[in-house]
Amino acid sequence: MATREETPKAPPDALVNAATAHPWSYAAGVLLVAVAYYTAAKLGLRLALVGRNITPFWPPTGIAVVAFLVLGRSVWPGVALAALVVNLPITTGVLPAAATAAGNTLAPLVAATLLAKVGFRREIDRLRDATAIVFVGALLSMSISASVGTGVLVASGALPADELPGSWAVWWAGDAMGVLVVTPFVLSLVQPWRRPGRPRWKHLEAAVLFALIAAVSVVAIGADPHLMFLVIPLLGWAAWRFQQRGAAPAALLVVVVASWAAAKGIGPFRAGTMLEKMLILQAFNATVAFCSFFFAALVSERMQAHQALERAAAGLEARVRQRTSQLTEAQQVAHIGSWEWLIPQHRVSWSDELYRIHGHVPQEFPVTFETAVDQVNTEDAARIRSNTEAALRRADDHDLPRIEYRITRPDGAERVLLGKAKVYVGPNREPLRMVGTVQDVTEARKAEREHRIAETLQRGLLPDRLPEVPGIGLAARYVPAGAEMAVGGDWYDVVELPSGRIGLAIGDVAGHGPRAASTMGQLRMALRAYALEEPSPAEVVRRLDRLVSRLLMSEIVTLVYLVLDLDSGMVQFANAGHPPPLVVRAGDQISFLEDGLGPPLGCDDPGLPAEARFRLVPGSTLLLFTDGLVERRGTSIDEGLQRLATVAMDCGQDIEAFCDQLLCSMVEDDTADDVALLVIRPLPLTGRPLLRVPAEPRVLAPLRQTLRRWLRESDADPHVANDILLACGEVCTNVIEHAYGAKEGPLEISLDVRDGTAEVTIRDQGSWRPSSGVHGGHGLPLIQELMESVELAGGPDGTVVRMRRRVSSRSDS
């Protein structure tokens, strides 16, 4: 609440400040004060009781105090000058007059200074202001002028010394009355009207009131002193209705009449000594002044308190209105409604948003528990009822289990709502109140379901595990987009081709969600089908391009498809608008395979994708990836590729760790796009390599290719190499056909070359007898013919065949 500004305390040098700042207005102020003082003095002297210069009511002091309070203490010369002029004719000389004038100037100065010190407010609308002006401004300060004035009179011989106390009292009382009566009156005149547009009847009331006061004063004081008390209720009226603005003039009026009567010796002042008259007059005046002041100040204070209370109440109401509207808006934005159930009263209230959630106009109908539950679909309503009954039985404050339920709106739309509620019990543990919120989660549930479907689709569409390819290390990763949690269309695949070669593909269907995932699945299957039929990668890509065009897939589809020969390490590939694969060669040489690049699929570009080739030598690593790995907000794709090259430089020994390293360095947590990557590395066949494959016919061709590579790298004579290859083929065929029956099982081949002799050990975990295998029983004899030594050991844990053959004339030891 706003407080009215306190009257500023005058700075110490206020006595001269105004004089130097605005000389003309200062001079005018001084003159105005002097004239006012002089005029008031002339009026006051008419009421003189003691000689010519001691009067029971001395208005100039009130004028001087007002002048110092309003214009500042710097106008003191005006007061001093006027006081001198007034005193000159009524004192015995210049010196006594000057001394008296000094006293008359000093007293109001002290009064104004002290009032400023105690924080006096010119409106006199607080009790402390009234107290301040009575005790500090009037009674205390005016003892100065009384002492100086009467002192001068005695000293100059104008007054007998024995009359000093009485004269002092009259002087003091007169000055004090001047302050008490005139100061508030003039202050009330110079206050701006705080409430403009005061009703006209109020002016009329004021006029009537003052006429009454004047009449009653004159009649009571002048005619019948017993009726003097009649002015008191009138003063009260003035103070109550008009505060200081009414009380001050009323008091002035009454005091003037009383002082005039005392001066003229009429009414109550007809008889008695001067001291008696004086006492009666001052007592009366003081009563009038005090009553009016204090009463006015009290009324003002009470009114202010009332207004402050009203303002606070209005502010509070505005805040409540604002909060309520904020809450309503928040509910609308979040699609959250709220309700309250006053259980003993059987009253339920719904928020506006809850009506909207239920498909109604806010506050369209009164709600009860039953009507609320009736809106819920039958199967969920039973659950809500039983939850509620259980909650009401439990005799304490607690949360109800949150519940998801369905409603059908009047227009037939079904919505899924999430309800949370809490019950409160009374002092006797009886349920009093239940409150709750209801959130419309229809859209969220729909989005979650779609996301789940898409993710399931994608996980189902990507290879659940990579094939075990002899002599090759393979690792792959798929990371869905983090930020939107949307499933994308990135994919990869590894296809074991009938030729024994390996098809490697990575692709990207633009967009997210089930649609992209399903397109990706179709493409992946189509690629598999074409790859099984068609050895040329460029031709496979061309067929896919035709398929995408025919199926009118609207998405942008990119892919790179490679065929790797396990024996020679030769890779043929074709690229349909996909980021180029990366090769890390031994010695950390990095290169991107930028050849063989054509447009994305389905662009109706007549140009056939070019086919390119390169040799993936042992010790190199091939990395296929989608753009999610190299795209990052705020950086170009070239920067991404550059960064990838730097990270891939240190690809390490383990390709699984390499994948983790790549994702960790390249992909932010909230990646906007999904990421797929596939890492291929020919394993070194030096030392004692171990090949582990499933015992299935399709592994025979790739196994032969890897064995050929091993034999070549072991410098085997070509004829000898053929024999070893054939012997291994025979053994593996037997394992595949007979070791596991209809079940699946592993086939392990370990290779070793020592002192120019190759040793091949083939293990399985099944059981077979060489005699039972191979058509016509040629198997074992053929193997024995091809190899120099063959050892066969069968046991419960499987069968081991160890074969040796010298591969070269020179010794490698």
């Binding site: 061709a701 054939l726 053929l782």
Partner: protein
Amino acid sequence: MSDLARVEGEQQGTICLVRVHGEIDLSNAHEVSSEIGVAMGQEARRLVVDLSDITYLDSAGVALLLRLAERLRSRRRQLQLVVPRGSPVRRVLDFTGLPRVIPLESRLEDALALRDHPLPDEFP
């Protein structure tokens, strides 16, 4: 079509010439066998299978050839193989004694020039 092995057929009068390229093992033996059957047609009296471009053939391939010969025999037709001397396949065939059952020539011209000859009496 699988590209581990490739089968091409060609009709030359009463002779059907089938060339097989690539490798034959357990994974494709059955497929190659049925492709040869398709390539042969109904009319041919004699089938010449040229294995010159075969780079790998193991006992699964041998079994395939034996089955094929048996099937032709039941339909009174002849099977002849062409395998060059020094071919890695020749060693397998020789070792399994297959040439004793199925006539085998080193050169295609020789196989095509042969007249129909009576079937061997013995079949292991």
